[in-house]
Amino acid sequence: MTDSVLNRILHVDDEPDIREVARLALEELGGFTIESCASGAQALEQAPTFSPDVILLDVMMPGMSGPDVLRALHALPETAEIPVIFMTAKVQAQEIEALTELGAIGVIEKPFDPMTMSGQIKEIWDRHVVR
């Protein structure tokens, strides 16, 4: 059962610039608690201890890709239920469909707008909670 309050977000992206600006957007403008990871492996390590409400996952990363990380998260009992939102520069309909079929609750397009990013995540979250 998903907790209906969104507070903790684990953000995974190999680009340090993006991690910084997302942290600023989500912490200062969105009021969330953020933990950032630079790789999929790091995310798998952090997720059980940080216990995020949602994981914001970049699709194209060196080593483990976003989909690889999602599969690994789903395979672990303590992280299997954590909802995942993908972030990707590919936003063609069939690609979004493929990502949601993997089990993501939503997809955010890159480049994102730091001013509206929190709102986008809240919208996806609200839709997810209602389901």
């Binding site: 610039d17 600006v21 600023l24 060196p62 972030m87 520069a89 480049p111 707008d113 001013m115």
Partner: protein, 566 residues
Amino acid sequence: MLFGKSQSTAEKLRALGAAYAASLPGKLQELETLARPLSSGGPFEEVQESLEAVRIVAHKIAGTAGTFGYQSLTDHARAIEKSLKLAIEAEQPLTAEQTAAIGLQIDALKNLSAAKPARGAHADALYEDTVAKAQPTGSVVLLAPSGGATELLVRQIEDAGYGVNWISGHADEVDGVVAGRARAILVHAALADGFKICRALNEVFRKEFRTSVPIIFLSDDGDFRARLRAVRSGATAFVGAPPQASAVVRKIEELSASMVFAPYRILIVEDDDMLALQCASAFEGPGYATRIVKEPDELLDRLQTFDTELIVMDLSVAGTSGLDLAKVVWQHDEFRDIAILFLSPGPEFNIEVLKIGVPDEFFVPRPIDIAALRKAAVRYLADLRSGRRSSNFIDLFRHLDRVAEATTSKQTPRRKGDGRGSVAPGPDATPQWPLKVLVVDDDRHLVDAMAINLSAHGIEVLKAYSGEHGFRVAWEEHPDVIITDYEMPDGSGDYLVGRLNAADETREIPVIVLTAHTLDGRKDYALEREFVGRLGAVSYLAKPISLDALVAEVGRIVPLPSTGSP
């Protein structure tokens, strides 16, 4: 604490943007280095690794740059990524032409990255929004030198209930947004170049910001010469010998009561949030009223409810194009007087718009130079209000209307469909006989051959041998279908399709495009997108054409008695 948390966030965003800007040359250098082996001309296996590496770096830039205000970099990087993705999927090395195109894209990235992201990027937008909202409505701007006398004057004006934005330096420090919202601007003669500043402010506020914010000149002298200089500098009023706060406040109240406020009304059609903000930031201040339309479907409703004088239209809008949206506007007589400034991502986007007669001055390049956008808009709007000109398209429409009036339409135009080749003759599309098909090609033999075949099916064939000629015949005869070569030597096939699409009377006539630009005579997606998607043709046929296929294609659009329904 005037701005609070938002300002500090804005400052941090600005700092992150600056750090990203500083890192860009390194990223682009990496991209250029990785791309170098692509020009080797070797087989796919040899360059595959480089293709992948360049694609990943381009993907990263595409996904990041726009977040920091470099939307154009994102666009160019996406184009690179796309070319490489196609090559990788096809397992083909790049052609020399493709490699050169990628080189040009990288050059463009380097040039664009050298420019500071346009004002109005997220941080700036947030900052300006905060400044504008935080400013007390009853404020004045005071340009006066530092010193005890000025401090006293500031306190006394504040005591009278006005916020004072005191600038002791140069006029460049005046924030247009703040000053444009002020009750008055006070300029002290003791400031170096006080008279010049007064004149410059007058110029800016009257002409550029479209406000009638009074400019009050203050001077320690009260003689005739000082007053005269103040008047010549464009000041609205003079308080001198020396300026007493009570007299200044009285003058502010007196003048601000008669302020005229007739803002220019500008509609911004932009689906990209950041670009929309950039555009809107060009029109900050009380001289402008702006509305943003992000969803193309909302355009007409917004035009109805917002008494628009000028539309700023991005030529690149997701799912459609700025030109298509402009055409939607032009279809409505009541909106034809509204001028449109086109935001152009590149010269290639302008071609179709130029073809229908829109002058160069109505294009503003992206990335947006805020000052240039405002200047282009204000120049046009000022002329429009003063009656010196009408809309940028009105002459074009008058011309087309004259031609339309002179043409006796013999048939009800057939609907062209949605521009995706899905023309299905509905119950109201019953053709009137004989059917008329216009064939346009510079190859007269081919025209004759097509004519013979179409005539054999009972079709009346009209012939033309150039785009200009074809357009004239289309206007006069209003055929049921037009078949035109696209690549005529003088480029007039392209011209013809543009003209047909632009004119009300010919827009609905289904067009079949003939092209020799196909791969081994096969259809391909890029051409489909170009001719059917972008140009709005109902279909295209690859040359050399099969005359039977041509007749079948016409029959698909309009039922032929000899071929039956399609």
